[in-house]
């Protein structure tokens, strides 16, 4: 370990993080309302889950920019694709499990083969839903990143969620974002953070272990990072919000600058971020060992998110212990 770094501790190199954490109780409510106020060609679409995706202000105050197709996700996605083909910008919202599992063919064929901007926001992704298995889409990133030319973004907090959606409305073709709802920690400083498609963000800089994370996984990795810093274990943390098109060069540079890599994601450890980083390093060869943390080949339990995370060793303490264990 680098003594100077160990003494200095792990730092936020770009000062992207807010010092004092607060929580946004309904990020998408404001994000969608502000977007619709600015862009009159945007239509926020629901499939009977507007309340549960926190599409409240648009529905109440800008009803001409809200369309509910009822409890019909295949129709949500394919009607949205039609709306896109008529020159408007649909933002189809539902839970990630329904968008991907029930309407994957519509995402791929109706949205994924054409040039018109077609956005899908999948809420309560991974284990961020108390209802186990059927509501927990822990494979959505892998499914959508397998679609050629699709864009896949897993933001970590309200700041990059907002900025990513602002970018998405001008991207061609299918854009899949994971959404945040309910009390979401404000982590990135909106004054300093600027979302750019494909860019990665170094949130902590150290030596030895490099943590690569996305979405909720970045939130969790930051909790672990605080504990690791307190324990004097130097490490780095890279936030990768853009899963596709991925910035292979930045991820490779980060990976080869560390002795070991740990990926942290709110997703199965296959097909998602861990696989992505592994693919990049494997293509080059001779890279560091990569340990993938997330949902292993198992169903997650239901319940509160803290409980589920603890059960899976994805709570801050559990992650810190697992990462620390790798260095010995």
């Amino acid at each position: 370990m680098n003594d100077e770094m160990a003494t200095y501790g792990t730092r936020d190199p770009a000062m992207l993080l807010i010092g004092e954490r607060t929580f946004d109780p309904a990020p998408f409510d404001a994000i969608s309302f502000d977007l619709c106020s600015r862009r009159k060609d945007v239509v926020i679409m629901s499939a009977d889950l507007s309340t549960y995706c926190q599409v409240n202000r648009v529905k109440a105050e800008l009803p001409e920019q809200h369309l509910d197709v009822g409890m019909a996700e295949q129709n949500l996605i394919s009607v949205a694709a039609g709306i896109a083909k008529a020159g408007l910008v649909p933002v189809a919202t539902t839970f990630a499990c329904y968008a991907t599992r029930r309407a994957y063919d519509q995402m791929m064929i109706c949205m994924g083969t054409g040039p018109n901007t077609s956005i899908v926001v999948g809420f309560t992704p991974g284990i961020a839903n108390p209802a186990r298995i059927h509501h927990q889409a822990a494979e959505d990133l892998g499914m959508v990143r397998a679609i050629p030319n699709a864009t896949v973004i897993d933001p970590m907090d309200p700041t990059d969620f907002r900025q990513a959606l602002d970018v998405a409305v001008d991207l061609p073709g299918l854009v899949y974002l994971r959404g945040h709802r309910g009390d979401t920690p404000r982590i990135l400083d909106p004054e300093r953070f600027s979302f750019e498609l494909g860019r990665t963000y170094t949130l902590r800089e150290g030596t030895g272990i490099g943590i690569v994370a996305t979405g909720h996984g970045t939130q969790w990795a930051l909790e672990a990072s605080d504990l690791l810093t307190a324990r004097g274990l130097s490490h780095s943390l890279l936030h990768v919000p853009t899963i596709k098109p991925v910035n292979e060069a930045e991820i490779a540079e980060f990976a080869y600058a560390h002795d070991q890599i740990v990926t942290v994601e709110n997703h199965q450890i296959v097909t998602g971020l861990g696989s992505l980083v592994t693919e990049i390093v494997s293509d080059i060869g001779g890279g560091p060992r990569i340990t993938r943390l997330g949902l292993p080949n198992t169903w997650a339990p239901g319940g509160t998110l803290p409980y589920i995370r603890a059960e899976l060793g994805l709570d801050g303490e559990g992650l810190a212990n697992r990462i620390e264990g790798l260095s010995t």
């Binding site: 239509v43 001409e64 369309l67 197709v69 009822g70 019909a72 295949q74 129709n75 394919s78 009607v79 949205a80 694709a81 039609g82 709306i83 896109a84 083909k85 008529a86 020159g87 408007l88 649909p90 063919d105 519509q106 064929i109 109706c110 083969t113 054409g114 040039p115």
Partner: protein, 282 residues
């Protein structure tokens, strides 16, 4: 209101016969969905040469969404008559490396959506209709799909949406040919009564003979005059309708291989039909 004059109907019947011949000339090269293309020729003639309004720029003001991609052969046959494609190029249909896909991808001239995964056209057409109406456009949206697709749940989600939204700028054209990949729809999974089902979902609906130019024109007119709900034209057809020798020989021909039909006989029959129409009304 347009009048169904004898000359208008005759002209469309000649165009339909030429579309049928185009379909056979294309499919005889390497096989194809000839039976559907032939059966849909009258609908195609009425749609492309009468109902859809030109945009003054070489294309159409109104929009056509093909849901069952394999019926692209109908569109190819019709667009050849318009000069949008050459027959030389269309004869590469089904060849390796051609852009003349049997089931085309969104963006190819004449094809608004990627339509090979069945049952997804009606909802995309409904989305287009909803958005065009929201934008203040008077475009009318026509979507062709097959009775077999009625077995896909997505179609009924779309119908429920279109009826609820009262999309009067939307016309569903159902090719009710009682034939799907593995046999008669009435044997595989019955879909009737089709008009009544759409009426129950909030449509105005009419069952017509899908090879009667007059009935097709009347239905399109009724659709235009229906201002408070979407419209479903349930077009009864049978494979190879309009070419008796092929219909008799191949009543179950979902797909016809290069050697699977007597193409010469079919082309001779339809050529004689074209000559007859020209002479009879010339």
């Amino acid at each position: 209101m347009r009048t169904n004059t004898t000359s208008r109907i005759r002209d469309l019947e000649i165009i339909a016969a030429r579309i049928r011949r185009n379909v056979l000339e294309i499919c005889r090269q390497r096989g194809g969905y000839a039976a559907q293309g032939v059966a849909l020729a009258d609908i195609a003639a009425c749609l492309y040469f009468d109902e859809m309004r030109p945009n003054g720029n070489g294309w159409f003001h109104d929009r056509f969404v093909l849901s069952n991609g394999h019926d692209a052969i109908m569109t190819y046959g019709a667009l050849a008559e318009r000069g949008s494609y050459t027959m030389d190029e269309l004869k590469t249909y089904n060849a390796d490396g051609t852009r003349i896909d049997q089931s085309p991808i969104e963006g190819q001239l004449g094809f608004e959506i990627t339509a090979g995964s069945l049952g997804q056209g009606p909802s995309q057409a409904a989305g287009i209709a909803w958005a065009e109406r929201k934008r203040g456009s008077d475009k009318r949206i026509y979507c062709l799909f097959s009775d077999g697709e009625l077995q896909e749940g997505n179609v009924w989600e779309a119908a429920m949406f279109a009826g609820h939204q009262k999309l009067s700028n939307l016309v569903y054209i159902i090719d009710n040919n009682d034939m799907q990949a593995s046999g008669h729809a009435s044997d595989v999974l019955g879909v009737e009564p089709v008009p009544e089902k759409f009426e129950a979902f909030g449509f105005a609906a009419r069952r017509i003979n899908g090879t009667s130019t007059r009935e097709i024109l009347d239905a399109f007119e009724e659709a235009r005059n229906t201002t408070d709900k979407p419209y479903a034209m349930v077009c009864d057809t049978r494979l190879f309708d309009g070419i008796d020798c092929l219909q008799e020989a191949l009543p179950m021909a979902h797909y016809v291989s290069r050697t699977g039909a007597d193409w010469d006989a079919g082309i001779a029959e339809i050529t004689a039909r074209i000559d007859f129409l020209k002479e009879a009304f010339g």
